[in-house]
Amino acid sequence: MDSIITETVWTQVGSIDDIPVLGSRVVRTPGGDIALFRTAADEVFALEDACPHKQGPLSQGIVHGRRVTCPLHNWVIELATGEAVAPDEGRTGHVPVRVEGRSVSIALGEAKLSRGGCRKACGHV
């Protein structure tokens, strides 16, 4: 094995019951706000709380299926990947989440954040 395997550091942030079903709560970190979403099937996902389009707070959007619709201009973002749903293009950062019992933890060290800007077609670099 060439790669160096390090242990993932999980930070406990609360109980799944603190997040409304089909809703979201915010965790504040030094690197910016992280939005935690809970689906109808009790899955929990974490995304950087900024839409790739105009940095709208995704935590304030409407959650449906495994997606959230941004409250500012209705972009739809995949909770699992942070990817914008076509025909829009762009990606917001996502953070690994672990649910043990009712306890929710996130792995900030593993976060794939992408502060600011949308990468592709909209031309807004």
Partner: protein, 835 residues
């Protein structure tokens, strides 16, 4: 280790970092926010994103719209919203500075700046002039009288619609494309219309005399009078037009005159700046003017001695220019072969190329008088030179592609008049012709999209509808003339997988049912929760989407007052947080001021809140209330608590509900006031506040017909008169301004309140979610509303009773619940703070 589904780079630079890292961007200033200028910008963004800092000046107050679709707007087949090409959000998203309602007055070529009417000076590295054209007004006596209208922009359409609303007679001067579309629109809107045309037949530049005669007969069948060979001598009138006098002495009475005899390139700006001008601003094959820093595209230019007035050439110019600006080489605009189509519903007319005949040309003509079909093809040296089709235009695209390609048609000569695929195994199959087209065949002339591009998008991106093809390829996104062809292309490509668009749209992608069908089912089948609706109406998603859930939440709330439990997570953030989210994620709040009244204690409390929470902006709204901007979300409960303590409650400025009741001072102070308009406004607001409606609702009460509260552009407006009250409904002061319709005159305040409650309830029960009263009234018709409210007193009382019943459940102040009782506290607190 982790897996990422993303293929892009992991490290991202933000906007500021990119800007500081790279060289300064070139500044591109575009004068003209029309189709040619913005097409150039769109192409440029696609080819070289971020290369330019773009500033766009538009003389009109609107975002950029599809000018060629103004005729359907006039005819009432489309709304202005439907023809907007790029919304303001699009400009924002692409970092473009858009200055609307701001014509440019001059260019300083030495300093490389433009100056606008308002005195704004903007420097440029590259300047693009795309000022389009102006309608040509024949300088006969009376041509400047009020009531003489050109047909060029939305303001002209609004002027025509306003005139048509009063009925009467219209004279349209000019029997070309625009004139006939204007005539048809005004006729559809109920006016008596006469078309005055100088030439012997209509549309003589596009149609030969035979087709022109057929067209005239069809228009006359629709009740439009057509006078050909008619020369206008004078427009008659004192303060407003009253008639058009012809040179042969005939006088045609007219309440409006539409002048549509042609357009003139709008080159004033270029000329004043000393650019080389002829009939338009002269440009070379790269769209450069005589100043190498200045370009021009569209109807304002003269290229190789020719000026253009159709959309396809403008778009071809735009593509060449964008290529050039993006640093590409080798692109050149060499002129266009064009086709035209008349946008009059039910009249199929197509023409392309040159059909004037002449030496060495041969004509192939097909007539079927019984079917009203006429086709003429002009050939020269085995090639197609021109085509005129009337009554059956389905082969237009095929002929046009043969013509543009200069294809040798000798082999098809004998049968080509019968259309593509004639005599083959697939004869009679309307899709066969499409299937047989080569990939290079152009389907969308406006946007230059070929068959191959569309088929590729359909198969690779899994597109299944016309709307999706529009979104991904831009085909059919301009004039829409090729939408039938695109749908056939979908059918051919997808086979059984394609079903043509249904007439009425489903409410969202989660269902094939319409808003109306879902509402009806909720009441008929007693569906009382969202889950029951999903089950009974076979939703295709487990929990709906951001579009259907708020609608269903409202429909259930309206159908089962006091019984249905509001679904918090199906509301937009504004309604969840009871404040308006702003672009930076902060919120604004508006305390209610009944009827627009306030007092020192309330103002003092507001001032204290502003100081205490460092609120950066305080603004008076259009509805006479005070808006506090820039409040942090976590501060909202405390802000509300302080405002509540001073006796103020939520103004619902965020709600799809009653916003404000605007008033004037009326008889209490005003020397003209006939009734107590302020007092009535307070009563109306006390009765209607807190209600949930399909969209926001604004009321107003004016104390006299001077109408200081602007009551006749509100959802419901009361105008006080000596003998009582006039009730007006269905007005809107938004993007598409609509004046109210007069519903009824009543004598007492009690009647005003009863009518208001009944109107609100009818709107609540019948309109689709997010449909304001103006489009709702237009859709169902004023007669429908009068029948329910005016002609049927029993129904009016029942509606009002249902409204008042529903109000017993909704008049709780949401601020108090959250500030004092801690309702939904989680909404305003962080889950955790880490690191």
């Amino acid at each position: 280790m982790h897996l990422s589904s993303n293929n892009g780079p992991v490290v991202e630079l933000n906007e500021a970092e990119l800007r500081s890292a790279g060289p300064a961007k070139e500044r591109l200033v575009v004068v003209g926010n029309g189709m040619a200028g913005m097409k150039t910008v769109e192409e440029l963004l696609a080819k070289a994103p971020g290369r330019f800092d773009v500033t766009v000046f538009g003389a009109e107050p609107h975002p950029n719209y599809n000018r060629i679709m103004l005729s359907p707007v006039l005819a009432g087949e489309k709304t202005f919203d439907q023809i907007v090409l790029n919304s303001r959000e699009w400009y924002d998203a692409n970092g473009i500075t858009l200055l609307t309602g701001e014509p440019v007055e001059g260019i300083d070529r030495a300093a490389k700046t433009v100056v606008s009417q308002s005195g704004r000076v903007v420097p440029y590295d590259k300047l693009l002039i795309a000022t389009g054209s102006m309608p040509f007004i024949i300088p006969v006596p009376g041509s400047t009288l009020p009531g003489v209208i050109g047909f060029r922009d939305l303001a002209d359409v609004d002027a025509m619609l306003a005139a048509a609303a009063k009925g009467g007679r219209a004279v349209v001067i000019g029997g070309g494309l625009l004139g006939l579309e204007a005539a048809n629109g005004l006729r559809v809107k109920g006016m008596d219309v006469t078309v005055v045309h100088l030439m012997p037949t209509l549309m003589e530049r596009q149609l030969d005399p035979s087709a022109g005669m057929l067209l005239q007969r069809e228009l006359e069948r629709r009740g439009i009078e057509v006078l050909t060979g008619a020369d206008t001598a004078e427009i008659v009138g004192d303060e407003w037009v009253s008639a058009v006098r012809l040179k042969d002495g005939r006088e045609l009475p007219a309440d409006i005159v539409v002048m549509a005899v042609g357009i003139r390139p709008n080159m004033a700006l270029g000329k004043a700046a000393g650019l080389d001008c002829g009939r338009g601003i002269r440009v070379d094959d790269q769209m450069r003017t005589s100043d190498p820093s200045i370009y021009a595209v569209g109807e304002c230019v003269e290229h190789r001695g020719v000026t253009w007035g159709l959309v396809a050439p403008l778009f071809e110019m735009a593509k060449v220019l964008a290529h050039d600006l993006a640093g590409g080489e080798g692109a050149a605009y060499t002129g266009s072969v064009t086709s035209t189509k008349l946008k009059v519903t039910g009249v199929d007319v197509f023409s392309a190329g040159d059909f004037s005949g002449g030496e060495g040309t041969e004509d192939i003509v097909f007539r079927d008088a019984a079917r009203g079909v006429y086709k003429r093809l002009v050939l020269k040296d085995g090639k197609l030179l021109g085509a005129v089709l009337y009554g059956d235009t389905k082969d237009g695209a095929w002929y046009f592609s043969l013509l543009k390609d200069g294809a040798d048609v000798s082999a098809e000569r004998d049968t080509m008049i019968f259309g593509q695929g004639f005599g083959g195994a697939d004869a009679g199959d309307p899709n066969a012709a499409i299937a047989a087209l080569p990939d290079s065949a152009e389907i969308c002339g406006c946007n230059g999209v070929c068959k191959g591009t569309i088929v590729k998008a359909i198969t690779e991106k899994g597109l299944t509808s016309l709307d999706e093809v529009k979104a991904h390829t831009k085909a059919s996104a301009s004039c829409g003339g090729c939408s039938g062809t695109v749908e056939r292309l979908l059918a051919v490509t997808l086979g059984d997988g394609f079903t043509a668009a249904p007439k009425v749209k489903p409410m969202c992608k989660c269902t094939h049912h319409t808003h109306d069908a879902v509402r009806a089912a909720i009441v008929e089948h007693g569906l009382k929760t969202m889950a029951e609706v999903f089950q009974a109406m076979e939703w295709t998603t487990p929990d709906g989407c951001a579009s259907c859930r708020p609608a269903l939440n409202y429909y259930l709330l309206c159908a089962w007052p006091g019984e249905y439990r509001d679904d918090y997570q199906s509301r937009y953030i504004n309604e969840r947080a009871h404040a308006n989210i702003q672009k930076d994620g902060t919120y604004s709040v508006v305390p209610r001021m009944w009827g627009g009244l306030t007092n020192a204690a309330e103002l003092r409390a507001i001032a204290d809140v502003v100081d205490k929470f460092n609120i950066p902006t305080v603004k008076v709204t259009g509805g006479q209330r005070i808006d506090l901007f820039g409040v942090k979300k976590e501060d909202l409960p405390a802000v509300w608590a302080d405002l509540n303590a001073a006796g103020m409650v939520s103004g619902h400025a965020y709600a799809k509900g009653l916003r404000t009741v605007k008033t004037c001072v009326g008889s209490e102070w005003c020397r003209f006031g006939t009734q107590d308009s302020t007092g009535l406004g307070v009563k109306l607001e006390r009765m209607t506040w807190g209600t949930w409606t399909p969209h926001k609702v604004k009321l107003a009460v004016s104390g006299c017909p001077r109408n200081c509260a602007e009551a006749t552009i509100k959802d419901l407006g009361v105008v006080c008169i000596d003998s009582g009250y006039e009730l007006h409904v269905g007005g809107n002061g938004g993007l598409h301004v609509r004046a109210c319709d007069l519903l009824v005159r009543v004598a007492t305040e009690e009647e005003v309140l009863e009518y208001t409650g009944a109107f609100m309830q009818l709107y609540r029960e019948e309109a689709r979610y997010l449909e304001r009263t103006a489009p709702w009234v237009e859709r169902v018709g004023l007669d429908h509303i009068k029948a329910a409210l005016v002609d049927d007193p029993e129904r009016r009382r029942a509606l009002n009773a249902r409204f008042l019943f529903s109000q017993t459940f909704s008049q709780d102040d949401p601020w108090a619940e959250r500030a004092a009782k801690g309702v939904d506290r989680h909404e305003f607190n962080l889950l955790a703070e880490v690191g």
